[in-house]
Symmetry: C2
Subunit: 117 residues, 2 copies
DNA sequence: TTGATAGTTAAGCATGTACTTAAGTATCAC
DNA sequence: GTGATACTTAAGTACATGCTTAACTATCAA
């Protein structure tokens, strides 16, 4: 397990680059070939391929080659994984916030704070 | 804008490291001091500090020092930013999937495919 | 079979990242 | 003041990342 990278590491790492996010954005609309994907970028094809490798390694994108054209598409599963992780942290954070609100609501009436209006 | 890093770059980059995710996880339960935060890790204090710098630069964590103790807490805003980005891509992706389903639903009855059951 | 198209591989290079150790600087408790 | 506590800064190192150019391999079309 020394060289193991957790799926979330790979997904967040992949999303940390604006070019790769743009590619995911493009692919979430519809599948595309490598050159279609490369077109908007001021970047060599090999560079685009390397971004694609990162996206595939992270599981955010799958691709298959037919003839000389490789068609890429989004794979939702790992995007969901990342979304779920974030949701869980946010839920915990808000839960804590609610507990604080409850605590304050319990304390305030007993204190000599002035009423609203 | 040459050296500018978009907020999402910083947030996803920050979340790409398991130690930093663990810190966010810890802090989403309650605020903590630097040494509390460091305790679970087999890592020097300066290393923890550097992770904290990354988290603060990304806006995921805020901190303030009182006396000699720095207290860190989660800042939800940028976590939400990342969550929203992911939700949007997923929504687009599913929308496309639905359009495909509609298309198939429209085509199937006209074809000579066999009925279900 | 020849040329154009679509992608791939390899090598190299400049920066960035994730640590480390060593040596600080402010509190705080007595 | 003195020592312990809680960070903080600086410097160095190993490896990862994001590109580049050059050269190559498979289609496909005529």
């Amino acid at each position: 397990m020394l060289n193991y990278q957790a799926p979330l590491d790979l997904v967040f790492q992949a999303l940390a680059d604006p070019a790769r996010r743009a590619m995911v954005e493009r692919l979430s609309r519809s599948p595309a070939s490598v050159s279609e994907l490369a077109r908007p970028f001021d970047m060599s094809l090999p560079a685009v391929m390397q971004h694609l490798d990162v996206l595939e390694a992270s599981g955010l994108v799958r691709s298959e080659k037919v003839g000389r054209v490789r068609t890429c598409r989004v794979d939702d599963a790992n995007l969901k994984l990342a979304g779920d992780w974030i949701s869980k942290r946010r839920a915990l954070w808000e839960q804590r916030f609610d507990r604080l609100a409850d605590y304050l609501a319990e304390q305030k009436p007993k204190s000599k704070r002035r009423r609203k209006s």
